[in-house]
Amino acid sequence: MTVLLEARGVTKYFGGVQALKDVSLTINAGEIYGLIGPNGAGKTTFFNALTGLYQRDGGEIGFCGAALRLSSPHEVAKAGIARTFQNIRLFANMTARENVMVGRHSRTRAGVVGAVLRDRATRAEEAALRRRADELLRYVGIEHRADDIARHLAYGDQRRLEIARALATDPKLLALDEPAAGMNATETASLKSLIEGLRADGLTVLLIEHDVKLVMGLCDRVAVLDYGEKIAEDVPASVQRNPKVIEAYLGGAA
């Protein structure tokens, strides 16, 4: 098994609060890796530190065998880590297709001159971009909403659109921040099969999730964060029995 992402000692402070304490974890290529923990444990902070939205105060992240430097989000996206957001962040007034097309920004090249002259290369790129966007919309199952404004989409479809947009960046690692939040049982089940499909197609997935059933049924390995520290990392079944994890979730046993 090859290691895709290796985080070593990732640390983040907010003022005097240490939100991440020396978090180290490795994600293997092709697996679904779960990141769980009680509210405020630092899961999203880790995501943000990973994707360049926050500058890390310490630690290193290796990705695809190379060091991922303290870099800006667009560079992280270009390196091959795509993400979704806990509270959906779509381009609300653009169509579903345009949302996905924006996702391919770093994989396309056309500049101002190309846009104005619309030369052959630009037209070809634009056509390919459109085709790819439609393909991805079909892949996540919302191709019939391609021309609708993103904010008119149903909640579950918005989640799917965000995943399609993330996929448009051609990621090697897809980081999903609570994709099932606010979904009903049916929607969650179809999300699960979508994520399984992603893995089957060779993608590596990092998943933050509160829905324990989803995490246990889906993930190959799970890490548990509590107060910014990693307290466990193992296959779901043994994490579930880990006394430290139970204590973190249920509070200290008397």
Binding site: P73, H74, H105, A115, T169
Partner: protein, 347 residues
Amino acid sequence: MPRKSWLGMALIGAALALAPIVVGASLGNAWVRVLDFAALYIMLALGLNIVVGFAGLLDLGYIAFYAVGAYLYALLASPHFGIHWPAWAILPLGAAVAGLFGVLLGAPTLRLRGDYLAIVTLGFGEIIRIFLNNLNTPINITNGPKGIARIDPISVFGQPLSKPVEFLGITFSGVMLYYYLFVVLALGIVFVGIRLQDSRIGRAWVAIREDEIAAKACGINTRNVKLLAFAMGATFGGVSGGLFAGFQEFVSPESFGLMESVMVLCMVVLGGMGHIPGVVLGGLMLTVLPEAFRHGAGPMQQAMFGKVLLDPEALRMLLFGLALIAVMLYRPAGLWPEPRHRRELAK
């Protein structure tokens, strides 16, 4: 392109070509001059539309780029320094220099949004104006508040546009010739705007407007793309500034005050932010209607009440303010918003 839209374009083209002849014959050259200014303001509004409408960056100092273009033309084509470059050389240079100023303004404001950005850009606009006002000592560069006079008119194929030309038995006065030049350039700017809007760059601008963090996560280098918006917008401003200088044959810092920036912003917002036909409409209306009112209010009062009760100038500003409030209350997306936004508001 379907036949219908060819026909529509031909009709618009004919209307644009005939407008100055008809207006000149019926209302006089003063009104053709108003149309010239309408074309200039439309170019300005389309430039600001890139920054405000597409990229969502509220810029209150936009007129500074107009000033940069105008003064560059004035300095390079007037007896002030004794330099007399041709317009076709100065205008692209003015576009480039204004674009550079756009980047200079944009760079320190990249982290700012909304009201904070508005205040910084407002300051930038004023700085440029104050510089123009005071750069007559120790070395006289801008001639200070007196402005620069006797600027060379714009010449096309050796023909100065300020001199009338006879063609097909019609005498085309200077303002009419300038009209044709301005309309052609404005159409060019419309074309560039439309092409940009529907492109990778245009989508990136809108993405930044909609959600900057998500845009970054999509791999957009928001710093560069925002600077590009500032530069493109400024370029349009620089071109229209140069045209303005050649047309007026005189520039002074007075023409580039905050009120001008506000007017151009009003054209964009009133017409329909981010929607090019709407912005064109906004520019046309806010140039032509106040003029019509200026000429019409006095005689109308005379006819109705037998005397002029209210100063037309004061009344004009009052009605202008009321019109703005009414539009913002009843048509918040502008008079002619993008169809998809209109659908939005109908719901």
